[in-house]
Amino acid sequence: MQQELIDLAWWQLAIGAALVLALAVVTYFGRLGLSRDLVVAATRMVIQLALVGLVLEALFSVAAFHWVALMAVVMLLLAGREVMARQKRRMTGGWAFAIGTVSMFISSFAVTVFALLAIVGPQPWYTPQYAIPLLGMLLGNTMTGVALGMDRLTDTAWRQRTVIEGRLMLGMSWSDAVADLRRDAMRSGMIPIINGMAAAGVVSLPGMMTGQILGGSPPALAVKYQVLVFFMIAVGTGFGTVAAVMAASRRLFDERQRLRLDRLA
């Protein structure tokens, strides 16, 4: 089944890099003000992926549980930091980081472990070739949902302060007073993955499946893995977003159910 893989030489990657440089030159003369960002982002991408490649090579050769767990925790913390960085009005006192990280932990981690134990079933279950890519894809997507949901919630709470307080004044509980904002925020966190599933294969070929096919897998197997991954991502993103928005909306109010926008930066 396994075909001979076509190796990529470094000079071939250099050709790709040259094309990016050409784009940078064009944007420079077009005064888009993007050339610097473009080059920095491309450079970052190369360095980060090269490092991850090294780490994964080392990790795969050791395959000890504590190293896999350490890698997973580092990935989770980086995702938590990213969620915080994407908030326009983030919660102060480390709450943005804490809520994002905890909700990704309970969703992404739980779903990954479940998929490994109950569905894929590698031996041992934490085999890094399966565990790390699965967790990575789940975290990447859950992160987007959690970040979008929390950002939407805090931003609309900020804008609709008078409406929320108007409801509180009529004797509504904090939970009723933000119910529609919360629904809205959850929806905006989940819509990307729903759209992604709807468009899969028609408009776009998912990156993971494409990679697997390029890597020599038969398309039927690649499709099965992609379907599984989509399901897991949908579940992880959904629960992660719900948990994050619930926790964040509670944090917007204090023990006397007052709207506390001073808790946003």
Partner: protein, 216 residues
């Protein structure tokens, strides 16, 4: 105070007094005040003197010092949303979130719509078409429809023409007396204060100063 309390006994059978103890918020410190059932206490002060923040603090909408109670119900012993349902704040700028007036209302107090210059059809109106004066009157009616036990009114007639303002304030006065509802009423207009207020306090620096009340 003795006189006002005496009056309130004859006019109100039900209802509880609104009691503020050592309330502090914004520039104000140590505000002690007891508003008897059916009594209207007017509050005046320059803008920025903390009138609005005091009302918000009483409704427990922002952090502050001190305690409040309604009759024998201590605020600290009651869930915050119950307290706000009892001691209802009507802000100067009301907010509306649904499409029609009706969706914000429970059953209006009988006769209140007419007294405020509306007919029954007003409940079907769209929020987007309301003028600022209509919103202001409807905000008071909306609050009353939730059957509060005390009212905190922040310049409830500021956008109304004088005739309508008199009509609204006269009805509110009678209603609150009849129901034994204590009312804190922020007002600018000295004539209005004289018409509706049983007592009048002005904010001077960090405290409330009782003003002579010309009524009666």
């Amino acid at each position: 105070m003795g006189e006002a309390a005496g009056q309130s006994k004859e006019r109100a059978d039900g209802g509880d007094a609104l009691v503020l103890r050592a309330l502090g918020v914004g520039p104000l410190r140590g505000v002690n005040l007891e508003v008897e059932p059916g009594e209207i206490v007017c509050l005046s002060g320059e803008s920025g003197s903390g009138k609005t923040r005091l009302l918000r603090a009483i409704a427990d909408l922002e952090p502050h010092e001190g305690e409040a109670a309604l009759g024998s119900d201590e605020r600290a012993a009651v869930a915050a949303h119950c307290w706000r349902g009892w001691v209802m704040l009507v802000p100067a700028e009301s907010s509306w979130w649904a499409d029609t007036v009706k969706e914000h209302f429970l059953d209006p107090v009988p006769g209140s719509m007419e007294a405020f210059g509306f007919d029954e059809g007003a409940l079907e109106w769209e929020i987007g078409r309301l003028s600022s004066g209509e919103k202001q009157r409807l905000a008071v009616l909306r609050a009353l429809s939730h059957e509060p036990r005390a009212l905190l009114l922040d310049e409830p007639t500021a956008n109304l023409d004088p005739a309508l303002a008199r009509q609204v304030e006269a009805w509110l006065r009678d209603y609150c007396r009849r129901e034994g509802m204590p009312v804190l009423w922020v007002a600018h207009d000295q004539d209005q204060i004289a018409r509706v207020g049983d007592r009048h306090f002005a904010i001077r620096g960090d405290r409330l100063e009782e003003q002579p009340c010309s009524r009666n």
